[in-house]
Symmetry: C2
Subunit: 325 residues, 2 copies
């Protein structure tokens, strides 16, 4: 079944419950576009298969997501790292080269850097600032009934890449003479190991194509589509209906998951790891996006009383569920 | 001897060498007052004796230091935490209550909060923004020859508190029936477990007393006085002379260290953990600070060719040394 087959992830605490508890103290309304993220070894990345240069690149991309989700452009980043002495200088160079390549590519200034010792593996904290004209700023609330729900890129491919990497790691651990079997899955591995920010957020692309389009609400999809949808609905006190057939699932992702006995829709809804954006637009703005292949319309917002649902390909309706709700 | 008796600390990598290597990529000249810090269990704090509420408070104070060192006022903070499921909700409440109490006390808005799972103990990352009028902004460079070198507060008391806590931990580990012997050392423990930001940086105090005084260069002292002095000298291409007899060492700190067979000056120079500021002022500004008991003049800046020295109480001269240089 689609909704009961949520992949197991490490969530030793009810993150969203805690956030709700302390949300009264958080000043969400401030105008500064200010974001931060924390990446820890063994939870966010496994150095047995994650090349350090790619990790550096991915960490910067990941850090841009909350800024892009406010329709802003990332401008500055600070990095604090804790690392143990098993990291040789060459390893730090690899990591830094990925970080600096990504910063340079997206014109993000590296504003600060600090290293400290660690007895607990590699930890990287980033904080990032961004810029947006006040009238273009988008928050997680602001959607209205009947507005269209859109996503950028395709869903589930990065998580599928992670499944393959973890599988080959287990094979290798059992028999170190085995070579990994990654033939034909480059795209999936790359989506996990070296994600690109959604085209929607890149300043050059936006300047050329997207500037006239103003989303009414937006959120990043790194915690999964179902989580993102529930957040958007909660924030705007609305329901939603999305359609399984509209979910942008890459054909390679679909086939590989089928081979593994996993329903692709489950991964698209609950896998996470997608560095993509989920947003709502006014119906009359459909004309502006219908030709853009990186954007898919997957459903529409409904009254809160209608609930949050997905309509499957065989026309059955399921309630959307996500961890922490 | 003073200079050879540097306390052992965990520094598995040459932090300052690395920072120098990558400094060409860092945009130090940007006007945004933007700071970040990372705190990891077993390196920055030991939960066997650090109360979580105090830890929360200290983390916010620690995060203000780089902002205060630019003569700015901290305004906003974001917090990212990774914690394992050994933390009960009550423990998180303790930690958060310290964080929120400190934010509220110093009028710092909590702008964001995120929790994630950890398999590696507690890690807390903070990022902080601050405000300063451009003409009042102070950097680490800008000192001139013959300017006076000042420090806030007293030096070495926090590190002495840490030595006592570590000693009692070892006693307890060897014999759990032993009660810790902390009689008469409250001040030292408090300086380590619940430091206050230097009065110099508090916005109300500054508004009343210090606003007319403009330091020419400034740095925070958390890495130790010797490290701070060498940084200031390097940044302004100068030397310095400081005087052992001028170092503000609290009498309790001095006595306790003597009891432990440790030279107080060593701890004042190289212990670190002091949440105080080191700054230079023009000679003619001496009048403005001479009545302020929280500020001590400890020496003066010299030409670069004169080197960086401390003159001891018995009138001998030693070169200042610090880890990483």
């Amino acid at each position: 079944m689609i909704m009961s087959d949520i992949p197991e992830k490490e969530t030793p605490l009810a993150k969203y419950k805690l956030l709700e508890k302390y949300s009264q103290f958080i000043d969400y309304n401030n105008n500064t576009i200010f974001s931060s993220a924390l990446f820890t070894e063994h939870v966010d990345f496994d150095l047995s298969y994650f090349p350090l240069k790619h990790l550096g690149y991915k960490i910067i991309v990941a850090s841009t997501m909350n800024i892009l989700a406010m329709n802003a452009t990332p401008t500055q980043v600070r990095i604090n790292m804790a690392l143990s002495n098993r990291f040789a200088e060459e390893a730090i160079d690899e990591l830094m080269s990925g970080i600096m390549f990504c910063c340079s590519k997206f014109k993000i200034d590296l504003m600060g850097l600090d290293f400290k010792p660690s007895v607990l593996g590699l930890t990287i904290a980033t904080s990032m600032l961004g810029e947006v004209a006040p009238e273009q700023k988008v928050g997680i609330s602001g959607a209205k009934e009947n507005e269209l729900i859109c996503v950028t890129g395709d869903l589930g491919s990065a998580y599928t890449g992670l499944i393959l990497l973890e599988r080959e790691k287990k094979v290798f651990q059992a028999d170190p003479t085995q070579q990994p079997d990654f033939i034909g899955v480059d795209y999936l591995l790359e989506r996990y190991l070296k994600p690109e920010p959604p085209a929607w957020g890149l300043r050059d692309v936006r300047a050329q194509n997207f500037a006239p389009l103003q989303p009414t609400s937006m959120i990043n999809l790194t915690d999964g589509l179902a989580t993102g949808l529930i957040h958007l609905c909660n924030a705007s006190k609305l329901g939603c209906t999305i359609f399984e057939e509209k979910l942008p699932i890459d054909i390679l992702t679909f086939d590989k998951l089928k081979e593994l006995g996993i329903v692709a829709t489950t991964i698209a809804l609950n896998g996470g790891e997608d560095y993509e954006l989920l947003f709502t637009i006014k119906q009359e703005d459909f004309e502006k996006i219908k030709e853009i292949k990186e954007i898919s319309v997957i459903g529409y917002m409904t009254p809160e009383s209608s609930g949050r649902h997905i309509i499957t390909n065989d026309n059955r309706q399921f309630e959307l569920k996500a961890q922490g709700f």
